[in-house]
Amino acid sequence: MSSLQRLFAVFLIILNAGVLPAAEYTFDLSEIEKKPYGFGGFLEFRPVLFGLDREAAFYRIRYFDQEQESIRDDYNLGLRLEGSYEKGATGLFFKSDALLNYTDDDWSDDFKVLEGYLALKPANGFSLNAGKRVLLWGKGYAFNPVAFVSRPKDADDPNEALEGYYVIDADFIKSYDGLLKTLAFTPVLLPVTDDINDDFGRADHLNFAAKLYLLFWDTDLDFMVFTGSSRTTRYGFDFSRNIGTNFEVHGEAAWVIDFQEKFIDNQGRLTTETADVLQALFGIRYLTANDVTCIIEYYHNGGGIGVDDAENFYKFVDRAYDRYLAAADSSQLFRAAQLSRGTLAAARPMRDYMYFRASIKEPFDLLYFTPAFTSIVNLNDRSLSLTPELAYTPITNLDLRLRCAFLAGAPQTEFGEKQNNYRLELRVRYYF
């Protein structure tokens, strides 16, 4: 049985999980008892099948000295644990991920604390937190230019939990009557040392960020700022509003001071120029009469890699690979790998993207079944990804998701030069 057939067999078996008989309706008060502690999480099994593109630049960088394959399978077993303890106005919270991976006949494991922090809530309008936390700012669904104090989201899976940074933050909230209904202020301190937040930016600095939120005239408005020496200063703004009962618009804009723009010449040399850049997003969310939710977003990454620079990189990889084949000299390929980090290997490295997602709630009256379709288009080189998806919850706490991402693009384009042509993934999650 091929890997693909195994994957489908697993999916079908789970899909036909047993039907539970109806019970008399009861509401036991023990179900609502408030305990000082809480514990939960999920167990996840996620096999992935990759269709490899042996002509692609990133395949050559990664696999140039290995047996050339067309297909690769990955098996992932994950355990998410979340817990809390609360007493009075104080609470302790944590969230962690443990991952076991089997790929290329090799096992590997990883453990990560996503969040772990102390929370104080002395009043409803004031709270203080210290520890590792996710502070995700912005109104965009797939992209967030104003996410100044969090890691970037995966646009292919924007609802997944992120790993936080160590911060001290507070919330001050005030409500009003009239056009201004809510005002909230969130200051943040983010230290960076060799041991803490070391991947955020330059070490040995204390950084400051703040967000001012307003609910004004039924519109969510946020104003943000980040300053400090770990990264350059930046200012942000976002908004979200319902135009009609089924139509929402949102947007973000970030002005980044002294951004290091990157350029790649045709010899594979990297140069940088300092400039102030704009990163912005505009999007809509629309719900049709047939319960189809559409999300469309345009993302401009002002500091992204230009089309010509990207082409220079891919041509450099081609020449490096040819040199390897001719003279067994891999030095240029190693150089290409190094060059790709922080440039074209990053997520959404170029300048202009469109994001489209449509999901249908329970078509044909199939409860808890949600098919969806997502596409990300690089507007600069016209390459794209297309991802159909099926999500289903056959029994309580069991989530199934099957999706396949197809990457399409000409040579020397972002999606055309990724190491895969497609990626088929089954995700099985059981929550407890």
Binding site: S127, S175, S240, L367, R429
Partner: protein, 244 residues
């Protein structure tokens, strides 16, 4: 002349009857819930096969236009919360770590219930009574939505005269097409003067064979700070829950 007097009396009586009907609707609201309260609810979606899916929510409401709900179970939904502030609605998912705007006709639980059923305001705040019929032991109120943002354009509400509490509500579109019917059952004394139906069953011609049930527990009068009903407070709603 007699006819003229009769018509004049009818014209004068009509607004008075309508005002009484709106007052009746307000009394229905107060008999269902206090102005500010907390409650626990269990939502049960029942499929034609008999299979069920249950959700337990903690809900807080203040005044006319502030409602928030927190999912306590199942585990896959625990920690999600929804907030309504007048015509604005948001959903907070812990993994996503920020609230997003939603609409009243969407459903975060699937099945027959939608967001406006979960984050329901007083009927009198969203509807006007266009007609009142006396059916003997019950009144039949015909309700018309005040704005286009309300989930259902029309309601037909059967109100028990003795308890001044609904026994049945039909939800209709502008074209008078039936969307769903709610049946209020199992009158229970929750204490504090709150005597109301503890169960609401719902069925829909749009979901033939499916049914949803909402059960209430621990409905209690409670006041809250306005700051509880804000986006920034959504991740902290669980801190409002007190020991039972």
């Amino acid at each position: 002349m007699t006819v003229l007097y009769f018509l004049l009396a009818l014209a004068l009586a009509a607004p008075a009857a309508a005002m009484d009907a709106n007052e009746l609707l307000k009394k229905v609201d107060r008999n269902l819930t206090p102005v500010s309260y907390e409650s626990y609810r269990k939502l049960i979606n029942v499929e034609p096969s008999g299979r069920t899916k249950e959700f337990v929510l903690f809900t807080v409401k203040k005044g006319r236009e502030k409602v928030a709900s927190l999912f306590l179970s199942p585990a896959s939904d625990k920690g999600r919360s929804t907030l309504r502030l007048e015509d604005n609605m948001w959903l907070y998912i812990p993994n996503v770590a920020k609230p997003v705007r939603i609409t009243s006709m969407q459903s975060v639980v699937g099945g027959v219930f939608n967001n406006s059923d979960i984050l329901q305001l007083d009927y009198a705040d969203e509807y006007d009574v266009s007609k009142l019929e006396d059916l003997g032991k019950e009144y039949l109120l015909h309700l018309k939505a005040r704005t286009k943002t309300v989930a259902y354009d029309q309601l037909r509400m059967w109100v028990d005269k003795e308890r001044v509490s609904p026994s049945k509500v039909e939800c209709l579109t502008e074209a008078s097409m039936l969307i769903k019917t709610l049946y209020f059952k199992d009158i229970k004394d929750f204490g504090g003067g709150i005597v109301r139906p503890a169960m609401v069953e719902t069925d829909s011609p749009l979901y033939k064979g499916y049914k949803s049930v909402m059960m209430f527990a621990n409905v209690r009068t409670r006041d809250f700070a306005d700051e509880v009903f804000t986006l920034t407070f959504m991740p902290k709603l669980d801190t409002l829950r007190q020991g039972q």
